[in-house]
């Protein structure tokens, strides 16, 4: 279950924290053009064994959120504030070598582009063996044996031969399987998959997602799936967090987000999933314009410039006041100035148009 609190209502007294709890996480980078606030005040939790989908366009801050959890932002020169609690341990305050010990063992990550994510000079088997030996004191032969088992496990055909292959000798799908095997080799509690299928063929995409789902069940791993494609989320995720302009804009269980999204941005994302099982709606409503520049965010709601409904809010609050992420129903949070009644009405209308097209 998702359980999000606003920045102010902090200081939970209960010693029982959820498995993953991110509290008021902000990341900024100093660039020549000024300070880039990549993510701002992200707060969310995730129970053990669940899958959370983080959805948003490029530049919405979803990858930065993932890399902040992994402790990879500091090496990129970013400044991280807030708290990241993983299994009872706060990560952001740890020394870099302490986080490094957790990386690849407690938490692991799969990246978007398997073509460039493996080192071109080393054999894939050696790269996985390296991941084992970084965290466990076992012999090289044992590590290699384990690597071979894992390669078979993630569905690499002729693994005995492929273990000595170089990355460029494998297809994109195979490389992503290798990446998944490398991520899971130390049985991490948390697996972050950052757009794991974006760079792959559609047929391979389904295979990879299925592989992640299967392995997640098998290993009992908690998964954060980062994607810009709401279409692949429904089958995989328990919860969905929608990000826009470095902020969470809507958070809820997958069924809530699919059946009753209330934030206009989420509605826009849902409307733009191409589906083969229905005709094109008469009036297609894409999200117009581009994501905001993180250096120069709109002063009010960050989505306002692209929102079709902001003129329905009185006093032009969308232009001047940052909306808060507030609960609208149990397990459902929305960041929007529109009154709840009106949001639900809009949501219903949009979904009727989408559904009507299929008749």
């Amino acid at each position: 279950m998702i359980d999000v609190e606003e920045r102010e209502g902090r200081a939970r007294s209960s010693p029982e924290r959820p498995f993953l709890s991110i509290e008021n996480l902000s990341v900024s980078f100093n660039t020549e053009d000024g300070v880039v606030q990549a993510i701002d005040g992200v707060t969310l939790t995730l129970e053990r064994g669940k899958t959370l989908a983080v959805v948003g366009e490029s530049g919405s801050g979803k990858s930065v959120t993932a890399q902040a959890i992994m402790g990879l932002v500091k090496s990129m020169g970013g400044h991280v504030s807030g708290e990241i609690w993983l299994d009872g341990q706060e990560l952001n305050g740890l020394e870099s070598d302490e986080v490094q010990a957790l990386r690849g063992s407690e938490m692991a990550m799969i990246f978007q582009d398997p073509m460039s994510s493996l080192h071109p000079f080393y054999r894939i088997g050696d790269q996985i063996v390296e991941a084992i030996l970084a965290h466990r004191k076992i012999g090289k032969a044992a590590a290699r044996k384990e690597t071979l088992e894992m390669l078979k496990h993630v569905g690499i055909p002729a693994a005995e031969r492929r273990i000595d292959a170089y990355p460029h000798q494998l297809s994109g799908g195979m490389r992503q399987r290798v990446m998944i095997g490398m991520a899971l080799i130390n049985s991490p509690q948390l697996l972050i998959a950052d757009e794991p299928t974006t760079a792959l063929d559609v047929t391979v995409q389904a295979q990879i997602l299925e592989l992640i789902s299967t392995l997640k069940e098998e290993f009992g791993t908690t998964v954060i799936l980062i994607t810009h494609d709401l279409g692949i989320v429904a089958d995989v995720a328990d919860d969905v967090a929608v990000m826009y302009g470095g902020r969470l804009v809507e958070v809820g269980s997958t069924s809530v987000i699919y059946d009753g999204p209330e934030m206009p941005y989420t509605l826009g994302l849902l409307s733009s999933i191409p589906r083969m099982d229905r005709e094109l709606p008469k009036r297609l409503d894409p999200i117009r314009g581009n994501p905001p520049s993180p250096i120069n965010l709109p002063p009010g709601c960050v989505f306002q410039p692209r929102c079709n409904y902001s003129d329905r809010v009185r006093d032009g609050a969308c232009l001047s006041v940052r909306p808060e992420l507030l609960p609208t129903a149990p397990d459902h949070l929305v960041r929007c100035h529109l009154p709840a009644e009106e949001r639900r009405q809009i949501s219903e209308d949009v979904r009727r148009i989408l559904a009507g097209a299929s008749q």
Binding site: G104, H119, A134
Partner: protein, 332 residues
Amino acid sequence: MAGYIVRRTLGMGLLLFLLSLTVFFLFSLMPADPARLTCGKACSPAVIEANRHHLELDIPPIEQYQRFVGGIFFGRTFSQDSPRPIECEAPCLGYSFLRNQEVLTMIARAAPVTFWLAIGGFATWMVVGLTFGIVAALKRGRWQDRTVMGIALVGYSLPSFFIGLVLYFFVILFLHLLPNPQWKSGMPFKELGGFFQTMLLPWITIATLNAAFYMRLTRNQVLEVFGEDYIRTARAKGLRERTVVIKHALRAGLTPIVTAAGLDLAYLLGGAIITENIFNLPGLGSLAIGSVLASDLPLISGITLVAASLIIFANLVVDLLYAVVDPRVRVG
């Protein structure tokens, strides 16, 4: 891989053939008449014609070229019908009638000087260039980086004749820290101390420009690799930062630099004209300048051929080396 080596070697042979052809005919087109150069002002046309015959310049150029190439493989005899014919054994690169010596003998005498000059300079600039470049990349934006880039800019801006002369003037003439450089045959195995005293300043002179160049190259290359996805993967695996830097970033970043440096070394082995002249080193560069000033055509073509062959050969070695260290380049 074997097929690749064979193909490349054959290609190299073809290139060398075309090269020798070009060099030979380019110089035969030169306006200077080698026969006229053989004797002084008060030279009678009859003597010139006789010398022309001795030099074998009175036969068609094609035949001259045939004899030239034949000489390389089988040796040849100059001035066959004169009372004192000159035997030139294979590989014969020609005979300098101006200096009355075989071209190959002169090159062989000059080559060790240039060889040690180039090797020492190369080692100096690679060590300095790579070390400083790596430091600059790892400390990007900080004072270490700015210092190194400042040094590189200065080093890059100073021409080698300027650095050489300044060093020569201050270190040798003014401060008397080193004796006047003097190359002796048998160096460096005899007189190791004298060898270093002679070569130190020339090495620095040669290394400065290249070190500056390699500092910048290394820094940029390493920084570029640090932005690669596979470095992020290495960090995500939980490797120590040392391992990430050395095994993952530097391995990928320095490989193209170190291999390509072979070409710069080969270029240098063809003679460092300015540095050799400043420090009075009798290497290939000095020999080349002397031959050009004297219009000594056989010597010019000989040196050009040797220097160009070095480059072609180094090219092959670099490509093979690259195929060994970067699995993506491996073929066949």
